[in-house]
Symmetry: C2
Subunit: 462 residues, 2 copies
């Protein structure tokens, strides 16, 4: 029997609870160097954005914000973490002492979870000292890049399914913890449920599932397996009918369950042809209400191709958890403004790098979606400068506070994010939900606020 | 300031430590149904294999085994997990009582971490009761599919780098926990180091890193930033030189650091052209030993394309953590044999499904690599049946015990896995390391043992 000593279990648990080392070595060396130079204490604004959407995609979906706020709250260095940093010489004693006291005390603003986004949308803003903000780069990007990639793929799938429920079942094809986050992100973007139990436990995502081929094979006959499943789970269950011969399995399934069998599942073969054949057979057997669930390497295109088939639900695995060709959202975290000097009241100045193919646009941003008279989004408006634009019925503000002085403000629920996503997607031009490749469905437009124009005349760094 | 109450922290930690819900709903419903039918207690053999390699790949790399053994040890249901299952009605009372007592008591055998694999290689075998084995499906596949996908990509990258060190730095482009596993898998497959601190803490992977553009931008001038970094980290550090103008930055870098500056980093632009230009400039400035590190969306092809450039190290991010186009290894977990009846001494019979495009091959497997007189691998030999083949100098056995009666046997270290990978790759035909697309570099060949032939004559299920 496997046993873990209580001590080891406690140490593992404590280590797992801290997110402080889920970061890159260079953030700590930058911290050390900036503590020496004094730049560590300069008020700074970091921004998360994506230079582009994945190839051919018309929009992206922001996801992970809720998880991120938990992860920032758990970002503190315990004795074990500090001992590791000392033992390996990652940073010096002064930096370790600073880290021992570290808690994030800054402000976070950003797009709500479930919101759609476009190239250069300022998805998240962190305002803190340089030291406090620079430490969070990797953690913030890991959470947002992963979850947004999954939600962006999931949203296309639920659109393609056109109201038929999608079931997330890709856990086995991704890292065991990424699986939980994937289930959450898929639900945010309209999936009905997941196979992942931890996602049910942690986030309340509805979970579903009945049986695999192994269950049929461990019994002496398929009939034995069906009877066992029906006895345990009732007639509303879903029987897997493609272990041996589908037509025979469907016949036996209805024979043992009766015409009120809940559903059958097809997991192989030509699903379009097979769904038609099975529907006809079920109807002939009187099982007119028995549903058909299909689950074999589906992506948004395969789902769309089954639109005319008598399919009642789609189970989506690999393609969901791998972002359907775009497993990361390619968001970056850039310093866009910082205090002109170390003092707490020093004015912010925009900063930007000028690397050839990776330019960034300095200055703190506001963002809103411009809406036309019919309620359709026409542009992602990004305003650079200190003041937000005047309130306007034809603009929907996109940025809201998420943390103030290191404390989370009211947290949106996953259900609220789901509803926001539904509304945000419905507001986009209809071509957003076409699967064909194209550019972002609305353009990103920059506006320049008064204050920034003044700063810009001074050469962007006064 | 963010504070988490000790209670909440303890609950989070306990929840994080259990891996029991990192599984699919259907595994628990299969458990419930098989407890009812009695099939739960049949001795069973499950096998992990991949039907194919990712498109165009010549070999795969097994990774995750070490992590998996820890995850199986932590697979037990605590009060919180059981309360969740009861509250949501996932399974009935009898099943919950069974789960409360669950510890894996079976045997696990398999390929060692770092070993190369091919289509249908029997990478892992779990022998246990059906109930004990079926519960582990998702966890086993999540760990092996993720880590093997990353290691398989990493191995191609280190081959392409031809001895120049590769640095893993993709944490920000994948789930925050997948990032840690990715760093581990990359190290296994020959990467020299990682940026991910948690991978250093948990697994002892060497960590490296110096600074980002934000560090330059938070200072008033690039010179200030370089001076701050040198003061904190010494002359052996790596200065990032592409924030504004590379030539000017290199000039300033050598001016402030002297000719014994450790390295400069290029993170944008045409790296081939830029590396040549910077090398010439460094040499002219007398900094002949200053190294050049390049880091911008590299994959194995980009690395190979830089072979002739004066580059000293490659930093690889996005393409590593996304498996360079193959983010999952597509391994499956199939029941291949089970007892003819529930008793503990009942003989095993092979089982296999017959789904149209996803057949499986029943029966317990042995595997070895056939080696020719020059020490080059010529085939992946899979023997179906109870007896291993006679020992033979021209075969290398691939399967070793990993757990017996639920207890891990001696665990290979990560360094041993690294060494095994180096040897296993060196043993393959040289074309394995060509980047061009092709089939598996050696064929998979089946042999049939005596006992199985007997069983097969009986119709595969006596």
């Amino acid at each position: 029997m496997v046993t873990i000593s209580p001590d080891r279990q406690a140490a593992q648990a404590a280590a797992a609870a801290s997110t402080a080392l889920l970061t890159d070595h260079y953030e700590l060396t930058m911290l050390q160097a900036s503590l020496r130079s004094g730049a560590a204490h300069r008020r700074s604004v970091f921004e998360v954005f994506a230079r582009k959407l994945p190839d051919g995609r018309r929009y992206g979906v922001v996801a992970g914000t809720g998880r991120l706020l938990d992860a920032i709250a758990a970002f503190s260095f315990g004795d074990e973490q500090l001992a590791f940093l000392e033992r390996t010489g990652v940073v010096d004693r002064a930096t370790i002492d600073w880290l021992a006291q570290y808690r994030f005390r800054g402000a976070v603003r950003g797009y709500a979870e479930g919101e759609t986004y476009f190239p250069h949308s300022p998805i998240l803003e962190v305002e803190a000292t340089f030291a406090e903000g620079v430490l969070l780069e990797t953690l913030i990007l890991s959470v947002l890049n992963h979850d947004s990639a999954i939600a962006s793929a999931a949203s296309r799938m639920t659109s393609a399914a056109a109201g038929r429920p999608c079931i997330e079942m890709g856990s086995r094809r991704t890292h065991e913890q990424a699986a939980v986050a994937s289930a959450r992100a898929a639900y945010l973007a309209g999936f009905a449920s997941t196979s992942n139990l931890e996602a049910g436990y942690r986030y309340g995502v509805p979970t579903v599932g009945t049986s695999a081929h192994a269950f049929t094979l461990v019994h002496d006959t398929e009939r034995d397996a069906f009877q066992a499943q029906l006895a345990a789970l009732g007639k509303g269950t879903t029987l897997l009918v493609d272990t041996f011969d589908v037509a025979e399995a469907v016949r036996v399934a209805v024979e043992v369950a009766g015409a009120d069998l809940g559903a059958v599942r097809l997991d192989s073969g030509d699903l379009l042809w097979m769904a038609h054949r099975v529907r006809r057979q079920l109807d002939q057997l009187g099982a007119r209400d028995t549903k058909i669930v299909v689950t074999s390497d589906l992506d948004e295109y395969a789902i769309a191709a089954l639109a005319s088939a008598p399919v009642d639900a789609y189970g989506v695995g690999t393609q969901l958890v791998t972002g359907s060709g775009a497993p990361t959202a390619a968001m970056v975290y850039k310093l866009v403004a910082r205090a002109a000097s170390p003092g707490p009241d020093a004015p912010l100045v925009p900063v930007e790098k000028r690397s050839p193919d990776k330019p960034s646009r300095g200055g703190r941003k506001q963002a809103c979606r411009r809406i036309d008279a019919d309620g359709v989004a026409t542009a992602e408006m990004i305003r650079i400068g200190a003041q937000p634009a005047d309130p306007d019925s034809r603009r929907r503000d996109l940025i809201a506070p998420l943390m103030t002085n290191g404390e989370p403000v009211r947290r949106a629920t996953l259900e609220e994010g789901r509803e926001l996503h539904r509304r945000s997607l419905a507001e986009l031009p209809i071509s957003a939900t076409q699967l064909s490749r194209g550019d972002a469905v609305i353009p990103t437009v920059y506006e320049y606020g008064d204050e920034l124009e003044h700063e810009a005349r001074d050469g962007w760094a006064r």
